[in-house]
Symmetry: C2
Subunit: 208 residues, 2 copies
Amino acid sequence: MSTDANDGRASRSRGRPRLEIDRDAVANAVAELFAEGGIDAVSIAETAEKLAVSRATLYRAVPTKEELLGILFERSTRELTERTDAVLAASSEPSDQLVELIKLQAEAAIRMRSYMPVFFGGGGLPSDVFMRWRNWSRQFEKRWSVVVMACMDAGVLDKTDPVVATRLILGMIIWVSRWYRPSEKITGEEIADSAITLLRLRLPEVEA
Amino acid sequence: MSTDANDGRASRSRGRPRLEIDRDAVANAVAELFAEGGIDAVSIAETAEKLAVSRATLYRAVPTKEELLGILFERSTRELTERTDAVLAASSEPSDQLVELIKLQAEAAIRMRSYMPVFFGGGGLPSDVFMRWRNWSRQFEKRWSVVVMACMDAGVLDKTDPVVATRLILGMIIWVSRWYRPSEKITGEEIADSAITLLRLRLPEVEA
């Protein structure tokens, strides 16, 4: 995305060079605002301040709060999807896959804790972001449920409704975002190991 | 709690009869507003409209949004605590207790789905309600963790950090609030049974 560099503070050269907005920097700024005060703290004015650009500059590149949220949402979901696909590609053993998915998701729940429950829950999102969330969420859940079903077929998990089971396991990990406190000195790895123990999944180390 | 009945629309008798505000009706109205539009939809004006009383009348009994939220919060937490204690009193077998706690919590997650994640997560709550939530939440978690620890001691659950395990199991059920849709025709009982299956807890029926 590019935008005019003329932000009203000073007239630039006649050539009007176009400024690239660094979407990664925008995503970081929005994530920081979420951490500071939740979705209500996210605004174009505050994001511009974090990025040290004028409101007008940011406004021209990202005209609405929806788009601001969308930039963070897209980066987070793309990253989660890519890393999930990498886990699925790394092993064909369902129990290994589920163990690694749980570890990945626990680490993400901690790192993205200020906004993961908002993005996964859908509540409070602008309708545009909500619609994208719903589509992504279904696809993401589907990736997990294939693994959960394979674990049931292999006897690694007892049989029950695979969609409900997937949502229960995912929810168990997503909710970590809400209770995790860095001061308690528990790592994502330890939390993931507890979840794996509760579900009685074999740890890869144990199999070796 | 009682309040003056003179709400400014008409002067009443010199005796100024005091009006009892029905806290249960207030809690119901606030719960409806949550269901309609989340915490942002909760206001004294909207609550008064639902209760068919004037804003001034409600305002005199419940002067702030914090207190409105507090009324629903207190009813919900008192009810959950009482029902949890009843489950704990009904059996001394840890696995039966955990099975019944999961059933109770799943039913509550569905019934209270518009506000349970807000109350359990603490996020977005006014500071007064948040402080009460934190105290209640710790006590509630403690009740659960005693059962989880007893299940580990009895070999019903594999051993891991009991506080983390408690939060993972509770989170699994609390998150039901976020994905449950009445249109999908899954009952709280079925969801609880799936959770019990995933955790491989014995069902009371199986033991009989």
